[in-house]
């Protein structure tokens, strides 16, 4: 069984962290991952930086630009991660835009992920339809889970369809917007969280975008299985460095 599915069966609310690979320094990637696992994070999204990250707010844009300037590429990332399964056992997901994966070759990318022990991919700009028709078979061949996004604007019908083709979790984008930290959620988000909870979907839901602290984590996981913190973590990392990771994580729960 894929590590993601195993983790989703655990009887607890899951905390996931996103960070940009190769940031703050090119060779920080492995140390950040190891520190996150030791701090009690349940799974990790490793951001593969892209020059034009359409769905990201300023924090992740800046960390991506810096990581690219540091020399991060798909090839470099795979080299950094080649022995990661000797030290890390929690699920690892690569999150990145489609173009770098397409240039690497989608099949070669999935194959490499499987060799290293990457469990899933999140590709915000790969359309559901395109994945379903052209890439699903490749992902399945290598046992890589593709994680789909839904938003407050996604129709019930489309959510049902996405649920039917999800074999891991559904990434619930908390609000209409790009990535970025928020201090609290308003009524609109609560209504949306309740609406999705009431749909009794097959795939567990993990909420991301706008989660930044203990309060937003608690609100998000009231109904959902877990939550993902990205920008707030990257902000903390750039201000306080890798040594601050345990404190940051313990402040969330």
């Amino acid at each position: 069984m894929n590590r993601i599915n195993k983790k989703l069966q655990e009887d607890k609310k899951l905390l996931s962290i996103y960070f940009t690979a190769g940031y703050p320094k090119l060779n920080d990637t492995v140390e950040v991952i190891e520190s996150l696992e030791k701090s009690g994070v349940d799974f990790i999204e490793i951001g593969l930086p892209f020059s034009d990250p359409l769905a990201d707010g300023p924090t992740i844009q800046e960390s991506s630009t810096a990581a690219l300037e540091n020399g991060m590429t798909s090839e470099v990332l795979f080299n950094q991660l080649k022995d990661i399964r000797k030290t890390v056992s929690i699920p690892l997901i690569i999150m990145g835009y489609f173009n770098p994966m397409m240039q690497y070759g989608v099949e070669a990318f999935c194959k490499k992920c499987a060799e290293i022990g990457i469990d899933g991919l999140i590709i915000p700009d790969l359309p559901v339809q395109d994945y379903n028709e052209n890439y699903k078979a490749i992902f399945e061949k290598y046992g890589i889970i593709n994680v789909f996004l839904i938003t407050p604007q996604t129709s019930d019908e489309r959510i049902r369809f996405i649920d039917s083709i999800s074999n891991g979790f559904i990434y619930m984008v908390s609000s209409a917007g790009v990535t970025g930290a928020k201090n609290s959620f308003g009524d609109t988000q609560k209504t949306y969280f309740d609406r999705i909870a009431a749909m009794s979907l097959k795939a567990p839901q993990v909420i991301g975008f706008g989660i930044s602290n203990a309060e937003t984590f608690k609100q998000a996981t009231l109904n959902a299985k877990g939550a993902i913190i990205g920008s707030a973590f990257v902000n903390n990392l750039s201000k306080n460095g890798i040594k601050s990771i345990p404190d940051f994580i313990s402040s969330i729960r």
Partner: protein, 393 residues
């Protein structure tokens, strides 16, 4: 082979809608409605009237006698430079503002490079009384001050794009992020035949008035609708899409797309996507794209701010791969000299984008009785500073 978009939004292998799920409802709403709305009688009537009374269409198809003599062929200039606001861009913004109104949107966003599309968008927003926000790279704001002032006078808010290389592609990223943040009340007026389906097709249809007019105008002047060649410059490719549109299936009409070679195709400072690009995804569309081996997008260069886009519209990628159109690259120097030559021979100061198309006469030989239509996409007023600096005027 078809050169028009298929039902899935592709031109051959290019096109599609590679957008984050956050944009799906907006783009899907547009996809389901754009053809229906464009076919409504009331829409057509309003669009045609505005093009006639407000934009000043039809634009002349002018026989350039002295230019023709010099190159020993028959050259007609399609005078899009005479459109209100100074370029063909307004054909599209008129169409899209009417579309936005029918979709019930009250907030308009746009990206702009040199500022021509920004001005054309601010213009139609003023005309319709809609809120207008234009994203423009911080670097472009500094080098295109007159157009920034125009947009402000027209009531638009100009927001600097501070990310990445702070030019057109980053302004486009910022506009897309704005649309993600404002999914319900906002329409995004893309300025070229780029972006996710249905934008490339919708913009091409709005610009197709150019070739529609060329057909009947040429019939009047030459007794035939089809020229031997149509020449147009390509950045994203909206004026070329409009000039080629009604000739795509007429194989006897040669289509020549002119890209900016910048300092030279091999100089590292170029925007010749058809030569330097390969298949990739940018701004929601699979197309030819200038990128690193790792798939990071490369910042292009051209002296012309309207041609320095790292991709081309998917229609043009298809025309290039299928060899339906011939792609020619023209350097800064070749374009600047061709621009000056048009001033001297015909008394017309062209936009530097259009000057690239004009430079083709120096690199490609046409027959004496060939009828060649060149789409003069814009006027050179906006480029005076660049001309002054280049020619030390």
């Amino acid at each position: 082979m078809s050169y028009f978009v298929d039902e899935n939004g592709y031109y051959g292998q290019f096109g599609g809608a590679y957008i984050p799920e956050m944009l799906y409802p907006n783009v899907e709403e547009l996809r389901q409605n754009y053809l229906k709305i464009m076919q409504e009688d009331s829409f057509k009537k309003e669009f045609d009237e505005l093009l006639k009374e407000y934009v000043g269409r039809p634009t002349p198809l002018y026989f350039a006698k002295r230019l023709s003599e010099k190159y020993n062929t028959k050259i007609y200039l399609k005078r899009e430079d005479l459109c209100h606001t100074g370029a063909h861009k307004v054909n599209n913004t008129i169409g899209q503002i009417l579309m936005a109104k029918r979709l019930g949107k009250n907030r308009i966003i746009a990206e702009t490079g040199a500022g021509q599309h920004g001005v054309a968008t601010a213009t139609v927003c003023a005309l319709m009384g809609l809120e207008c926000i234009v994203y423009m790279g911080e670097i472009d704001i500094a080098r295109q001050a007159p157009n920034v002032a125009r947009m402000k006078m027209l009531g638009a808010t100009v927001i600097p794009a501070l990310s990445g290389s702070r030019t057109l592609k980053d302004a486009t990223n910022e506009a897309i992020r704005d649309w993600i943040n404002n999914p319900v009340d906002t329409h995004y007026i893309i300025g070229s035949v780029v972006g996710p389906h249905p934008y490339p097709d919708m913009v091409a249809r709005f610009q197709s008035v150019i070739s529609e007019e060329i057909k009947w105008q040429l019939k009047e002047k030459e007794g035939k609708e089809n020229p031997d060649y149509v020449i147009a410059c390509v950045g994203g490719g909206s004026n070329a899409a409009g000039a080629f549109y009604h000739y795509l299936d007429d194989k006897e009409v040669g289509l020549i797309a002119v890209e900016a070679a910048g300092l030279g195709v091999d100089s590292g400072e170029s925007a010749a996507t058809s030569v330097l690009g390969n298949e990739g995804v940018i701004h929601g569309s699979k197309t030819l794209l200038m990128q690193t081996k790792d798939g990071q997008i490369i910042e292009p260069y051209s002296i012309s701010a309207g041609l320095d886009y790292p991709g081309v519209g998917p229609l043009h990628a298809h025309l290039c791969e299928s060899k339906r159109a011939e792609f020619i690259s023209i350097t800064d120097d070749e374009a600047m000299n061709a621009g000056l030559e048009l001033c001297e021979l015909e008394g017309i100061i062209p936009a530097i984008e259009s000057s690239h198309a004009l430079a083709v006469f120096n690199s490609k030989k046409f027959k004496k009785d060939d009828v060649v239509v060149l789409n003069l996409s814009g006027r050179g007023d906006k480029d005076l500073n660049t001309y002054i600096k280049y020619f030390k005027l």
